[in-house]
């Protein structure tokens, strides 16, 4: 079983301030950590390995200091790791990010199972995992609540569909994004830290990719244009609605139209 886990380095606190002039997140002096949702993906991988054997690789994308989260994954039990890093990848949106990572994944090997957290705490889109699977041309299941059974060529999982839970079987290779709470993540081990302190974190840059066209990466490859980042106004007005997901969806859409947000 070859398992790949995707992890991201995110700000260590939710109290990140936005510079009112430049609209950029003030990251100076802010600690970083592994995206908490990714811990569940990594824990899922570790449990599967304990039961069924195999190897666990981790991959991340970010500036060179993001190698820290790979090291942290080593401290939890991952076998190998790589960081996709290149100045040319800066400013990537969901589309460019998922394409970049999928290029990196191809370089790292072939995998039976790719595991992601369901979303990150900084971007919060929950789209990069599924978009990667599309780029890799493999099936994916998002919001996996639990793993019911591992078979030789497939896996049976419970998937959260907001108002229903579906049980699905999916063939390997595939990608799963897992929900918080699928397993309680273990803590990083100081013993493993000592053992893995010299273990390599492989660096993957644009020149390692099959597709070396710069236009497909970073700001160039990102159709999303961010006009401005600003902290949301604190607003204590609230309305409470009840109903099914569908009813509430319609109600929300018409409300947003009334308010001319859409």
């Amino acid at each position: 079983m070859e398992i790949l886990v995707c992890v991201k380095q995110v700000p260590g606190t939710t109290k990140v301030e936005v510079d009112p002039v430049t609209g950029v997140l003030k990251r100076d002096g802010v600690d970083s950590k592994m995206n908490p949702y990714d811990l569940y993906a990594l824990e899922t991988a570790l449990r599967l390995k304990e039961k069924h054997g195999g190897t666990i690789k981790v991959i991340s994308m970010g500036p060179p200091q993001a190698a820290e989260v790979i090291r942290e994954a080593y401290m939890m039990g991952a076998d190998e790791g790589a960081l996709i890093t290149d100045r040319k990848f800066a400013g990537a949106d969901v589309l460019a990010t998922s394409y970049t990572i999928s290029q990196g994944v191809r370089k790292l090997g072939s995998f039976d199972l790719i595991l992601c957290g369901k979303q990150t705490t900084d971007g919060d889109t929950a789209q990069v995992g599924p978009a990667m699977a599309e780029n890799l041309n493999i099936p994916h299941i998002a919001n996996v609540l639990s793993i019911i059974e591992m078979k030789e060529k497939s896996i049976v999982v419970e998937m959260d569909m907001a108002s229903t839970v579906e049980i699905v079987e999916v063939q390997f290779p595939c990608l799963l994004t897992v929900e918080k709470g699928i397993f309680q993540p273990r803590l990083p081990s100081y013993r493993k830290k000592l053992i893995t302190k010299d273990r390599e974190v492989k660096m993957i840059t644009l020149k390692d990719f099959d597709d070396k066209n710069e236009k497909n990466y970073g700001l160039n490859g990102s159709p999303t244009q961010v006009e401005r980042i600003f902290p949301p106004d604190a607003n204590s007005d609230r309305e409470t609605w009840t109903g099914t997901g569908e009813q509430l969806g319609h109600k929300m859409a018409s409300k947003l139209k009334t308010l001319k947000f859409i």
Binding site: F183, R186, P188, Y190, R191
Partner: protein
């Protein structure tokens, strides 16, 4: 001494002072006010009143003093030794409505507040100012005056000390109704007997605290906890003196056993990050940068591995801390949920005797065929040992409990420990304290009580009485 039985005239006085809706009698008094968290000792007061001001407290005390009516001041009722139970009936003053934070003084680093402010509110209030109130007892819904009255310690005592170390000044109402200010915003004080330090730990027997000035310190910016599994409790606890000796100054050194962790998992309905080992130490380090903290904890991590720890787990993010510390905070309730009744021994022994004491309680478990659970502050020698009733009959339980307690307190005396580390003597532990202290010590305490409360109306029947 014969107290006056409350009559209609007394109730009338209280209503004239406080109004109808703050005076409760008979059925109107919630049963909760008849006991504290541990139960066992119970009596409903004759009248319960909500007080809002120092003046009201003063007038009630004056009236009670003139009429010889016993009075008990009560906070959240989270005590564990019956300290706030009105064992002679009379008037109970519910102090928990006096719950305003009055002033934060950033030039003197003090916080002035009313007695009913909850412990959990204090940290929430001061931390945005980058200030820190270090005492950290597990029960966060206790009131600050309750903490002061028991000199509560909590989990950071190893590095920061206990509640007494953070009291700058107090306003107290004496049993005769006079209002007295002791201490103040001053840092040093050699001006006669330190009454404020006497009030702290007096369990509501010397005066009623109506205002408090607390000392604050700059907030350490970062903290990391280490969860350290050991093959057995003996190895875990034997490592503690070596950690203390390393001078790396953790803020907390707690020990816990698998049974208690499993109980907490069941109680909270969520998993602890690791439950594969028999015993754990939980340490916290704080400081202003991660590098500084890392340096301190690596020394300790290496000591633990040399002493046979299976691993050292690093608890560095909010999510990880929550997973570990929420379980630690729930231990008492979780253990309680596994049995029908229990009682607690809160002894404190010299830090290098913790292992010996815990080993002894383990032997008692076998010797008396009773379940004993313990966890606590290995770093400051304060243990919380719980004897569980399970399916014993009331009679058999009483008998067994007193034998086991007798044995534990004798052991503690042998190890040069003391009866209570932080929960107090109250009503439940009086005999053990008297036994240890002997007549002269107790006579001195009685004379102190007499000096404050010559008519013996304030929380009578507690500590040395």
């Amino acid at each position: 001494m014969e107290y006056k039985k409350l009559d209609a005239k007394d109730i009338e006085f209280l209503i004239s002072l406080l109004g109808n809706d703050r005076v409760y009698t008979g059925e109107e008094i919630n049963e909760d006010f008849s006991h504290d968290e541990m139960g066992g000792i119970s009596r409903i007061p004759d009248v319960l009143v909500d007080v809002n001001t120092t003046e009201e407290v003063s007038k009630i005390m004056k009236y009670a003093s003139d009429n010889l009516i016993p009075v008990v001041a009560r906070g959240s009722g989270t005590g564990l030794v019956g300290g706030s139970v009105a064992v002679f009936g009379g008037i109970m003053m519910n102090m928990s409505k006096m719950n305003k934070i009055l002033e934060i003084d950033e030039e003197n680093l003090t916080l002035t507040l009313e007695p009913g402010v909850l412990l959990m509110e204090i940290s929430k209030f001061v931390e945005p100012y980058d200030l820190f109130y270090p005492p950290d007892p597990g029960e966060k819904s206790a009131t600050i005056a309750g903490n002061i009255n028991t000199n509560a310690g909590g989990m950071r005592a190893v590095k920061y000390g206990v509640t007494r170390d953070y009291i700058r000044g107090l306003e107290i109402v004496l049993p005769n109704g006079e209002v007295l200010n002791v201490g103040g915003k001053v840092v040093k004080n050699s001006s006669g007997y330190s009454i404020k330090d006497l009030i702290c730990g007096s369990e509501g027997t010397l005066g009623v605290i109506t205002k408090i000035i607390l000392k604050l310190i700059p907030l350490p910016k970062k903290a990391v906890s280490l969860l350290i599994p050991f093959p057995n409790l003996d190895m875990a606890i034997s490592t503690v003196p070596k950690i203390v000796k390393s001078k790396s100054a953790p803020t907390a050194i707690e020990f816990m056993q698998r049974e208690v962790i499993l109980a907490a998992e069941e109680f909270l309905g969520k998993k602890f990050p690791d439950n594969s080992s028999d015993a754990y130490l939980l340490l916290t380090f704080d400081g202003n940068s991660l590098e500084e903290i890392e340096k301190a904890y690596e020394t300790v991590a290496n000591i633990c591995l040399e002493e046979g720890a299976l691993d050292v787990f690093i608890t560095d993010t909010d999510e990880r801390k929550e997973a570990v510390w929420s379980a630690r905070g729930a231990f008492l309730e979780a253990v309680k949920a596994t049995t029908t009744d229990m009682d607690e021994c809160d002894v404190v022994v010299p830090r290098n005797k913790v292992a010996e004491f815990i080993k002894y309680t383990d032997e008692l478990q076998k010797q008396f065929d009773v379940r004993i659970r313990s966890f606590g502050h290995a770093g400051d020698g304060n243990l919380h040992v719980y004897v569980l009733k399970d399916d014993l009959s009331d009679e058999a339980w009483e008998k067994k409990l007193s034998t086991v307690f007798e044995a534990m307190y004798s052991k503690s005396v042998e190890l040069k420990g003391l009866v209570s580390g932080e929960h107090g003597i109250g009503y439940a532990k009086k005999s053990y304290m008297k036994e240890q202290y002997g007549p002269e010590y107790v006579a001195l305490m009685k004379n102190i009580k007499l000096a404050f409360d010559p008519k013996n109306i304030l929380n009578p029947g507690k500590i040395c009485q």
